[in-house]
């Protein structure tokens, strides 16, 4: 009989998952980890920006203008990553009704919308000197714009409900519809562009990227991922306190932090 052997990795994962579902546990966990995320974000961003803006050589075609890539591309990756994260958490919330998954999905939406917005703005700033236009109806740009609308729709629907959890479930459902729709939009716009014989713009000037340009890019990508953790943990803590305002653990924290004890 070996029933009381040490817990396997799987057991620990299951335990961790169930503990994370408990709001007071997650609140304390997020409070412990958030400073590490802040520090790691700032350090990797400083290294990545120094590597990208100072150490990397200028591009032979685009000169120094290409350096916006170190902001633009990590944000574009994160806009999709955050959407996948939001839709995944939303699905967990819809299927198992985990309160914390709903909160993480809804708190990720504004961060993802911000990444998408930064991507669109830096893209058009980059496009003006490179192709001579702020905007072009390229498949990637159009999909990114539709992605922004999807994010705004999710945020808007979430806030349209009186009841927070009901709004979170409806918005998570919308996020799932959007996850199906986004590839369809992308490919239909590709098809539309070829039909119209529109401008054949390549988004990236250099076809292959050298190591001195690549490593700052990857460092910035890591930094934006860490920023997501930083921002999400803080937002989720506030949302948890708001949602659980009547519970004892939230009250205890509020009393502890109150000026008069």
């Amino acid at each position: 009989m070996n029933a009381h052997s040490s817990p396997t990795l799987w057991n620990r994962l299951v335990l961790w998952y169930h503990q994370m579902g408990s709001p007071p546990y997650f609140y304390a966990f997020a409070g412990r980890w958030r400073p590490w995320f802040i520090a790691a974000t700032l350090i990797t961003a400083a290294i990545g920006l120094y590597g990208g803006l100072v150490l990397a050589p200028p591009d032979y075609q685009q000169g120094d203008a290409y350096r916006i890539i170190f902001i633009h591309v990590p944000c574009a990756w994160m806009s999709l990553f955050t959407y996948a994260f939001m839709a995944g958490c939303g699905l967990v919330g819809l299927v198992w009704r985990v309160k914390l998954a709903e909160i993480l999905a809804m708190e990720a939406a504004p961060i993802g919308a911000a990444f998408t917005f930064v991507t669109l703005v830096t893209g058009s700033l980059w496009g003006k000197p490179m192709w001579g236009a702020w905007w072009t109806w390229d498949a990637r740009l159009t999909s990114e714009l539709v992605l922004l609308f999807l994010y705004l729709g999710v945020i808007g629907l979430y806030h349209a409900f009186e009841d927070t959890r009901q709004g979170a479930r409806a918005a998570a459902f919308l996020a799932r519809i959007g996850a199906v729709n986004l590839p369809i939009v992308h490919y239909s716009v590709v098809w539309w562009n070829t039909l119209h014989q529109g401008t054949t713009v390549r988004l990236f000037g250099p076809s292959r990227i050298t190591w001195p340009m690549l490593w700052p890019l990857l460092t910035m990508a890591l930094s934006t991922h860490l920023y997501l953790g930083w921002s999400l943990l803080g937002r989720a803590r506030v949302a948890l306190l708001e949602l659980e305002g009547g519970k004892d653990w939230a009250r205890a924290i509020a009393l502890k932090d109150a000026p008069h004890g």
Binding site: L94, F149, L157, A160, N181, H196
Partner: protein
């Protein structure tokens, strides 16, 4: 006492919605009037040159019809939600998706069909070449049911919220982008004398897919939005 069959439920919901629409038949004219007014504004905004208007006619007719449908979508579930009959549908023994399919079909008959009948008028006002008109009608005949089905899915999520027309447009626009691209693509191809069957076939495929999936997804959305 056994419950009536699913087929009987479908027919009953369809009859009821069509009867309600018939009792207020003046309202069926509003989307058509809206589309006519919008189509009238385009020549004022762009100038009355026939060549320019005939180039944009199909696109304007398409977008106008879809916007007119968007305006009418808010009324798909809201009156039933307010008088409580929507909850009766949720409690009914028949499959909810099927009953909602009846409601969506009734909505298409009362709002999209008048628009479809008025679209030759829109096309003529904007000098669309007569040879392209059948393609436009075919594209609209496939695009409007898609709009009804996808719109019902989105509007089901907003039942039980405060009145929010702008939110509906924001949620529906990303879903409609492919539909507009393929419908306009068919008409543009026909106008240039190119083969136009492929985009119509894509629209048809999307319509069949939506016809199967959308009512069930709409039922799930409605259960979430009403927390039932």
């Amino acid at each position: 006492m056994s419950a009536p069959s699913a087929r009987a439920g479908y027919v009953a919901v369809l009859r009821r919605d069509l009867l309600l629409a018939w009792r207020r038949r003046g309202e069926a004219a509003f989307p058509v009037l809206y589309a006519l007014i919008v189509a009238t504004l385009f020549p004022f905004a762009l100038g009355p040159e026939g060549a320019l208007l005939s180039r944009i006619a199909a696109g304007v007719a398409l977008v106008t019809v879809l916007l007119a449908m968007l305006l009418s979508l808010d009324g798909l579930f809201r009156p039933d939600y307010e008088d409580g009959s929507l909850e009766q549908l949720l409690l009914a023994p028949q499959p909810l998706g099927l009953l909602l399919a009846a409601k969506i079909f009734a909505h298409w008959l009362t709002t999209a069909l008048p628009l479809l009948l008025a679209s030759p008028l829109l096309a003529a006002m904007l000098h669309l070449p007569a040879a392209v008109l059948p393609v436009l009608l075919a594209a609209l005949a496939l695009a409007t049911p898609l709009m009804s089905l996808l719109g019902a899915l989105v509007v089901a999520l907003t039942v039980g919220t405060r009145r929010s027309g702008m939110l509906l447009a924001l949620m529906l626009l990303p879903l409609m982008v492919p539909v507009v691209i393929f419908a306009a693509g068919a008409v543009a191809a026909a106008q240039q004398g190119l083969p136009f069957i492929a985009p119509l076939a894509w629209l048809g495929a999307a319509f069949v897919l939506a016809l199967v999936l959308a009512p069930a997804a709409c039922a799930a959305a409605l259960r979430i939005a009403l927390d039932a």
